[in-house]
């Protein structure tokens, strides 16, 4: 709080940093120093019977995974990226993983968040209970704001109990337009309720040891009998084989060093078109969510593959080397509400200035 107050008083711009796993993320930040919050670490409250956990912002996802696994529970965000990334950074960047389309978007699992605004005020949004509509929503305000409305110091998240059975299957993914479209709509309409369904390009599948072909991973969870029957249903729809449960962790943690990561998205029914546009580039490393309609491209050497998408396809940059960018970053969201939010919660623009796009002090 004092550090932010000082920065506010002297208008000294800060880059918020935890374990540093997200320092390349977003747009270029103008800052004279890093505000290190990695010292704010540790689980402060965990009552397994309540399925909620409160932890300081610098607590890593790996620590939370260990603590909750001991009680047969988990934090269902499971984002793509480094497992030593922090809870604070995960929520600030609204990072999602393969189960995001079903149960794990940060906005949906965060029940409370404390943060220090750009003027040094301490804000406690939400609470510790899973259902709460008291007052205006200061939680959704902070989640996904990339730290530009406040430095997250701690958060309370809801957990899930691990299901009795949890199995993952790999289906061969056709590359031909009609066959792909048919398969995607068949799975969507089928009598299965996957926890996650993710398309992997050939290069992406190779990278995590799934062989030399494009696949769709389908994760089935629930009681053993239900999972068994759903697996049988899947097997009737496509050739599929079971893969190790650790496949998901390998996928999450397989982002290459360097290069860019960009997400391209449209409504879910557009996914087969997006996927074909992505995989038109030979050797592309990409994966896409069946239920969210998001394709995530990992681009080690060039952003040229982005040219294959339509102008209306939405692109969100996770990371990109500075030298690849156009000289001028796109402007930060400039609608009247976003501008006023920034003015209200960080008037001197001392927090992560520029991370959402170009802006002046």
């Amino acid at each position: 709080m004092d550090a932010v107050r000082d920065a506010y008083a002297t208008a000294e711009p800060l880059r918020i940093g935890g374990r540093g796993t997200w320092l390349r993320a977003g747009h270029p930040v103008q800052a004279t120093r890093i505000l290190d919050v990695s010292g704010l670490s540790g689980i402060t409250e965990y009552v397994p019977g309540d399925l909620t956990l409160t932890a300081s912002a610098g607590t890593t996802l790996a620590e939370i995974a260990d603590a909750t696994a001991a009680h047969g529970q988990w934090l269902s965000i499971d984002p793509f990226g480094d497992p030593h990334g922090t809870l604070g950074a995960t929520l600030a960047t609204a990072s999602a993983g393969p189960v995001g389309g079903r149960v794990g978007l940060p906005r949906d699992v965060t029940v409370g968040v404390s943060y220090v605004s750009g003027t040094g005020d301490v804000i406690h949004g939400g609470g510790r209970v899973v259902k709460n509509v008291a007052g205006f929503d200061l939680v959704r305000l902070a989640v996904g704001a990339w730290g530009t409305l406040g430095v997250i110091t701690s958060a309370t998240v809801r957990l899930r109990a691990r299901p009795e059975a949890d199995q993952t299957f790999a289906l061969a993914l056709p590359s031909e337009r009609d066959a792909l479209g048919t398969l995607l709509s068949t799975i969507r309409a089928a009598s299965v309720e996957p926890l996650a369904a993710e398309l992997l390009s050939r290069t992406c599948a190779q990278r995590i040891g799934l062989g030399d072909r494009a696949v769709m991973l389908v994760r089935l969870a629930g009681n053993a009998i239900g999972v068994h029957h759903q697996a049988a249903t899947l097997a009737r729809l496509a050739v599929c084989e079971e893969v190790a449960p650790g496949t998901w962790i390998r996928l999450q943690q397989s982002d290459p060093e360097g290069g860019a990561v960009v997400r391209v998205s449209r409504r879910p029914s557009e996914l087969s078109r997006l996927w074909l546009a992505a995989t038109a580039t030979p050797g592309i490393d990409a994966h896409g969510s069946l239920y969210r309609g998001v394709v995530r491209l990992r681009l080690p050497s060039s952003i040229a593959p982005l040219r294959n998408f339509d102008a209306g396809d939405r692109q969100v940059v996770e990371t990109m080397p500075e030298e690849w960018r156009d000289r001028s970053a796109p402007p930060a969201p400039n609608d009247v509400l976003s501008r006023r939010l920034r003015d209200a919660f960080d008037p001197a623009r001392v927090l992560n200035r520029g991370i959402l796009g170009r802006e002046s002090a």
């Binding site: 709460n132 929503d137 209200a344």
Partner: protein
């Protein structure tokens, strides 16, 4: 437009008894263009106003004290149903249950199901971030709204969020949902639809103590099964329901019953039913009954959904309270609520969403009992806050709970809420005096709510 006292009388109250406020004028636009025109006129004339859907709210949120009341219930068009992407775009006045009826031919429904779903509107649900029994599995309104077109109190029309790809930047949809009419009016909402479950099983388990029922709730949740709904009713509620036309066959000598529903794929549902059955028996249930058919299922649910109506027979007024506690605190909190009821001599009926710890202590009372009831309710709220809970899980703050806000939020947080309100409504004319206590807004000295409307009919 309505101005005569006799005409505006119906708009002087919502679902919460004990409060009546007289709007200066009631305007009920017939189209989105008319809503925008009215909001702009009110902005130009600097007049405070209050939006209203069906008036089923339970926190006094839609009461207009000498302000203009803007009724949105005539905007009831379903603009689009996109079955493939499982979304619908609707006007704010569309009735919750009618949306699910309209999407039924596609095998889809709108999941949030407040008890008032036969009357309440999607616009009101968005304003209140409404819940309902099935939110345990499917989430509350917040989790189902993808995009909104809103008119801000200054008359600006803007779109928030998107159902067609990710939007970079702030979660403006999440910020708007639950803003209780203080941030503007939703002109349309694009909401997520949910596939109708292939199979549904509803169980009724009866217990000889509330404590045992509460322990069973925790044990069920701990298995990893996410029931579609997990509701508790205590003996007072059971007796009220069974004495009414909504009698559902609940055992009147039980201390508490659990109404548990699981849904999903047909394969795999029976093992979940068996597990829940076993857990209830292990925790002392006398009997677990599984509804044999849709008719029995509907009857079991009717008792729950109409419980508030059944309590209406007991006394002229009914106060439906709303609070949340961590699930593990349920047994202790329920015992203490019983003690408070005894000390104050009030008849508390408990019917609530036990799966997520969302309590609804209800008190049926006569006018002369009002001060006593209010005091007992205040203690119950304090009890829930001290247990680490919240003062509202789904009904909102409105007018009724303003006094409780400082119990759960420190001054700086309340001031931040005021700042957030100023982002959407710097003139503070939309639903003035609600949600955040005035004194929390340090800079709010001249109260806009005291200004007189300048519009004449």
């Amino acid at each position: 437009m309505l101005q005569k006292r006799a005409e505006t009388f119906v708009y002087t109250a919502d679902g919460l008894p004990g409060y009546r406020k007289q709007p200066s004028l009631v305007v009920i636009p017939g189209s989105r263009e008319e809503v925008v025109a009215v909001v702009r006129l009110l902005a130009a004339q600097n007049v405070p106003w209050v939006p209203r859907g069906a008036g089923t709210g339970l926190s006094g949120g839609a009461l207009a004290d000498n302000a203009v009341l803007l009724g949105l219930h005539r905007l009831r068009r379903i603009i689009d149903i996109d079955a493939e992407n499982q979304t619908a775009t609707v006007e704010p006045g569309v009735v919750n249950a009618l949306l699910s009826r309209a999407t039924a031919p596609f095998g889809l429904h709108y999941a949030p199901d407040p008890s008032s779903q036969a009357a309440c509107t999607i616009g009101g649900n968005v304003a209140e971030n409404a819940g309902g029994p099935h939110c345990l599995k499917y989430g509350v309104t917040l989790n189902h709204v993808l995009a909104l077109t809103v008119v801000l109190p200054d008359g600006t029309v803007t779109s928030l969020g998107s159902a067609d790809g990710e939007v970079a930047g702030y979660d403006l949809v999440g910020t708007f949902v639950g803003s209780e009419g203080c941030f503007g009016v939703a002109l349309d909402a694009t909401v997520r639809l949910t596939r109708n479950p292939e199979a549904v099983r509803t169980l009724l388990a009866d217990f000889m103590s509330i404590d045992a029922a509460a322990q069973a709730v925790s044990a069920i949740v701990a298995t990893g099964i996410v029931p579609a709904a997990l509701e508790m009713m205590d003996r007072a509620t059971i007796v009220a329901v069974e004495a009414s036309i909504y009698a559902a066959g609940y055992p009147v000598d039980a201390a508490a019953v659990l109404l548990i529903e699981v849904d999903g794929l047909a394969v795999g549902i029976e093992p979940d039913v068996a597990t829940i059955n076993e857990i209830c028996l292990q925790h002392g249930a006398r009997m677990v009954r599984v509804a044999r058919d849709d008719a029995e299922r509907a009857r079991l649910w009717q008792g729950r959904k109409k419980a508030f109506g059944a309590m209406g027979r007991i006394a002229p007024h009914l106060f439906v309270q709303d609070a949340v506690v961590p699930r593990t605190k349920l047994p202790a909190v329920m015992a203490e609520i019983g003690r408070i009821a005894e000390v104050y001599g009030v008849n508390v009926c408990n019917v609530f969403h036990a799966g997520d710890g969302n309590l609804h202590p209800c008190v049926a009372y006569s006018s002369e009992e009002a001060p006593r009831v209010h005091e007992a309710m205040r203690l119950i709220m304090k009890l829930c806050v001290d247990a680490g809970g919240s003062v509202t899980g789904e009904h909102g703050i409105g007018l009724d709970k303003l006094e409780y806000m400082p119990l759960i939020f420190p001054d700086d947080t309340l001031a931040a809420m005021c700042k957030l309100r100023d982002v959407f409504d710097p003139d503070r004319r939309a639903n003035p005096g609600k949600v955040v206590p005035m004194r929390s807004c340090r800079e709010w000295s001249g109260l806009p709510a005291t200004r007189q409307p300048a519009v004449t009919a």
